[in-house]
Symmetry: C2
């Protein structure tokens, strides 16, 4: 009993497992990873908060409590949770419909969204419903992320150009930018464009250069991760030196100094009703992103993650964020990879990162006053452009036109109609395409390969058939979407072969027969009976057979069930010679 309880608790609190063996070596690795990730996270967190339409400091707050809660409840050892680009964009889209940016209502809605999303994720985890996230097909996610990346980049152009613009779709954003292009602030451009160029270069060119200068690869790696901080520092310094804020260059401004505030979500039914759809979409998109990162990293060390426990970990992170001034978060790809590469061995690395960010929010915020928003926009643009990848279009085009259609529709809908409609259309299309594919299963009339006990498609092989026996193989599980098609095809085949007295349905690839398909089989049996044709089955799998036995199908079946197709043919031929069926009157 006691061990059972302990196991149950350990399953829900993965921290109990890894903390037991925590030692000095692990501490060292975790600490180093934490320092690197903290440096990387500061500008990113500020930038994503602005993308979400929130005060910059909320990006930092959204990283502190969530990281700690994920360390307690999550199963991935390297996943770094916090604000990410796509979820920030979705937050802006969801909350932007309800309140004006900069108002307390907007902030409350974002906090409430984090709480709802967290509660939904925890509920999914407790009810073990993580499989719901699988209803997003990979190509649809790829298309959605690409389109989101483009929208995010477009939304940041206004900060680089210093013009006002708004909109949640590419069309709205471009139109709005175009309209206000005359108000361009050239000093902002002179900050933003070089900042973006420098950040691009830091990504690719800094590390090789440092190594060429004779630094060790490890140190070069750490310094190149800190590169963006240098860009932030330099542009901030320039803005301070020349008082650029007085020349129309927007800076971050006053950021409150101190611990994350204690906040609470709203429980207004109206607000919940308006946000519920967005909360579900954000949760699922966030979870899918996060779990795929976690799995990639875990697999590299033959570790495992538990998707249902991951839901609880991410859910607790979001709930924690809602009570400490945050907004919806998830496991980010870039920061998790950095964390992993830097040697994070346990989730304690996340906790140390949280301490680093806490110190930053206590002591560093005054330094952010002159940080130009154009620099943060450049940070975002450089980060999200790496998400944009149209190769999925080419890949799906060669592999599967149906998947291509789903991806194209998702990309176009996301760009043209917004993230929420885009992802909804993507999911709906994935499901419809799957149902369509399985709704017309491959069916083949089969005959005996001479001299063997094998039965193959008459169209592809030279085989022997019997004009009184129609043997049909169906290559799909039978369920409601294809039950009627099965009936149609069998009636057509029988109608075209007036000599047929026996039909054998060969089911080696039928993994399931649902109630609809069972009724179709009964209907086929009854209608064939009316035509004096017997209906047989062959090669039914064990679990399918077990289920069929629970119905009274076999009581009515006019024919028999055979273990192999060859047994079926032999037995039916023998029986037809012994007692031929009477010719039907009709």
């Amino acid at each position: 009993m006691k061990t059972g309880l302990r196991n149950a608790v350990a399953k829900r609190l993965p921290i109990l497992e890894w903390s037991r063996d925590y030692g000095r070596a692990t501490f060292g690795s975790d600490m180093l990873a934490a320092v690197i990730v903290t440096i990387m996270l500061i500008p990113q967190s500020l930038a994503y908060a602005l993308l979400a339409g929130l005060p910059a400091e909320m990006g930092i707050y959204a990283s502190i409590a969530p990281i700690i809660l994920y360390a307690i409840f999550g199963t991935s050892r390297a996943l770094a949770v916090g604000p990410v680009a796509v979820v920030s964009l979705m937050t802006a889209a969801a909350v932007g419909n309800l309140a004006e940016q900069g108002t307390p209502e907007y902030i409350t809605a974002a906090i409430t969204l984090a709480f709802m999303s967290g509660a939904f994720l925890v509920a999914l985890g407790l009810f073990r419903l993580g499989f719901l996230a699988n209803f997003l097909s990979h190509p649809v996610i790829a298309g959605f992320i690409t389109a989101s990346g483009i929208i995010i980049a477009a939304s940041q152009l206004k900060h680089i150009l210093g013009v006002p613009a708004s909109g949640h779709t590419l069309v709205e954003l471009v139109a709005s930018l175009w309209e206000n292009l005359s108000q361009i602030n050239w000093i902002t451009v002179a900050i933003g464009v070089p900042a973006a160029a420098a950040l691009f270069w830091v990504r690719k060119g800094l590390k090789p250069l440092l190594i060429a200068w004779g630094l060790g690869p490890r140190l070069a790696d750490v310094l190149s991760k800190a590169g963006p901080v240098a860009v932030v520092a330099i542009t901030t310094l320039i803005a301070w030196l020349f008082s650029l804020d007085e020349m129309g260059v927007k800076t971050v401004g006053t950021v409150p100094q101190g611990l994350p505030p204690l906040t609470a979500p709203s429980f207004s039914p109206d607000l919940w009703a308006s946000l519920i759809g967005s909360a579900v979409l954000i949760s699922i998109i966030g979870f899918v992103e996060s779990v795929s990162v976690a799995q990639t990293l875990a697999a590299k060390k033959r570790q495992r993650i538990d998707p249902d426990q991951e839901l609880i970990g991410l859910g607790m992170a979001n709930i924690g964020g809602a009570f400490s001034g945050g907004y919806p978060v998830t496991g980010g790809f870039a920061r998790s990879v950095v964390n992993f590469d830097a040697g994070a061995a346990t989730p304690a690395a996340g906790a140390f990162t949280a301490i680093g960010l806490l110190l930053a929010s206590l002591f560093l915020t005054p330094l952010l006053y002159y940080l130009p928003q154009a620099t943060l926009a450049a940070t975002i643009i450089v980060a999200v452009l790496s998400l944009v990848d149209f190769s999925i279009l080419r890949k799906t085009w060669t592999y599967s036109r149906a998947d291509f259609a789903a991806v194209s529709a998702t990309i176009l809908a996301t760009l043209g109609l917004g993230v929420e409609i885009g992802v909804t259309i993507g999911v709906a299309l994935s499901v419809l395409i799957h149902l369509y594919r399985t709704s017309k299963p491959h069916m083949a009339v089969v005959g005996q390969v001479p001299g063997t006990e094998h039965y193959r498609n008459v169209r592809r092989h030279e085989v022997m058939t019997d004009e009184n026996i129609l043997a049909v193989r169906v290559d799909e599980s039978l369920y409601f979407a294809n039950a009627r098609y099965l009936e149609d095809r069998i009636y057509d085949m029988v109608a075209a072969r007036p000599a047929v007295t026996d039909v054998i349905l060969m089911c080696p690839a039928v993994n399931e027969i649902d109630m609809s398909a069972l009724e179709s089989l009964e209907a086929i049996n009854d209608r064939l009976k009316a035509l004096d044709v017997r209906f047989h089955l062959s090669e039914i799998k064990g679990p399918v057979m077990d289920r069929l036995r629970r119905s009274n199908f076999f009581h009515h079946l006019t024919g028999k069930v055979f273990l192999s197709q060859h047994q079926a043919m032999t037995a039916i031929k023998r029986q037809n010679v012994a007692e031929p069926l009477p010719v039907s009157a009709e």
Copy 2:
């Protein structure tokens, strides 16, 4: 070229086929069937129009043009289209939200609904999208029809009791009846209850009685079909003799005499936006009912129907109805069976029925003035109670709990929340349950049955395995809903077996690999490669293999593809002896 064109036209106009061989014998059969169906349709059409909240004559109009258009475009030789109970109820639910019964707006909305539904059906037919109707599982339809029958019966009780009542759900109807029960009109009850009793008896008891009286079975059958008309005639006579309309008994009242009027649907975008969802639901429910009736009857004569052409036939019928004072129609079960049993040989029987109804609307309508609404309500109640069948609950309970859940939810939602929500929940649940079922496919570690080339589940059979080789069989097509699960399971299995150097995925039941699953296979390959484990496939089906060859999966595959599992095991064992893999450093 010319024959090609003729075939294409003949496919779209089935009338060209059957009219060619039309002779005197066929004419006789069709004529007799038409007389019987006409007699049966008159009270039914009036009753269903009232159920839809429309003037009684619209029920007759809705039968005339639609029947003729279906005869031209439809493929079933016995299907009788016209107003049916469930579609009338759904029309009332859809239009009732937009306008008050008895107003011109209400009638226009119903006409527009018929046009939209017709246009949608024709579009589905032209784009060959009939498969969409298959997304309704049989148990969900059964549950929906049962629940609809109960709601319809409840909605007619007010006419039998002579009290005002309203509502679109069972709860609303019962509450409304209860509230107004004090206003009960006992004279109406004295008409309605005996009428209902008589109709029930006519259904079961009249034909045996007539035969016992010495009538031939054929004549007895025709006369018992006319039984409901006798009930209508007798109650109308009583109402006229005693001027019951002055004693609070509601009668049909003045019905315009003449040809069906020329009407036109509205093209107001607002109205279309409000009706589009209902039009889609009505179309699909109507089509599913109709096509299953048509298939049942066609199969009895080894005839065939073409579902895509059926969509066009039903669509044209509805469009025709919209221009001639009708409302949404579909193929009815009861009337089609009567038509078939009466010997209808071609769709011309339908055309003759239309002529009969036309004569009725020209000459018989004055006789309907005193027809009590209670009699029509009794007609409906008797008709719909035959739809109510809870046996699907017992059947699904024993066969499949998932199907049981879907049926119960559909019935409860339809009764409690209305027909539109009910059927939507039913469809969504069918799809979700299917996705859930296939999202966790059966996977088995397999081993060799000693002395054979067969490989079976290690848990069910005494088999031989090799500690370096993990052979896994997956019993499901691989697609987005189970791609991630496949990855998880394989990583788990490999993580639990540190000695493994080769993984073989055995795919005899994999009928499809979509893009998501392909990416998962690539991910599995890459992650196993990082662990120095080779990844092999065996027993891939021809079409799946063809598709995989279009990707570059095989260029990256660390292992090989084998035709049979035994070949795979033999080849890998031989290779491992020749060149064992280096032990991984990690």
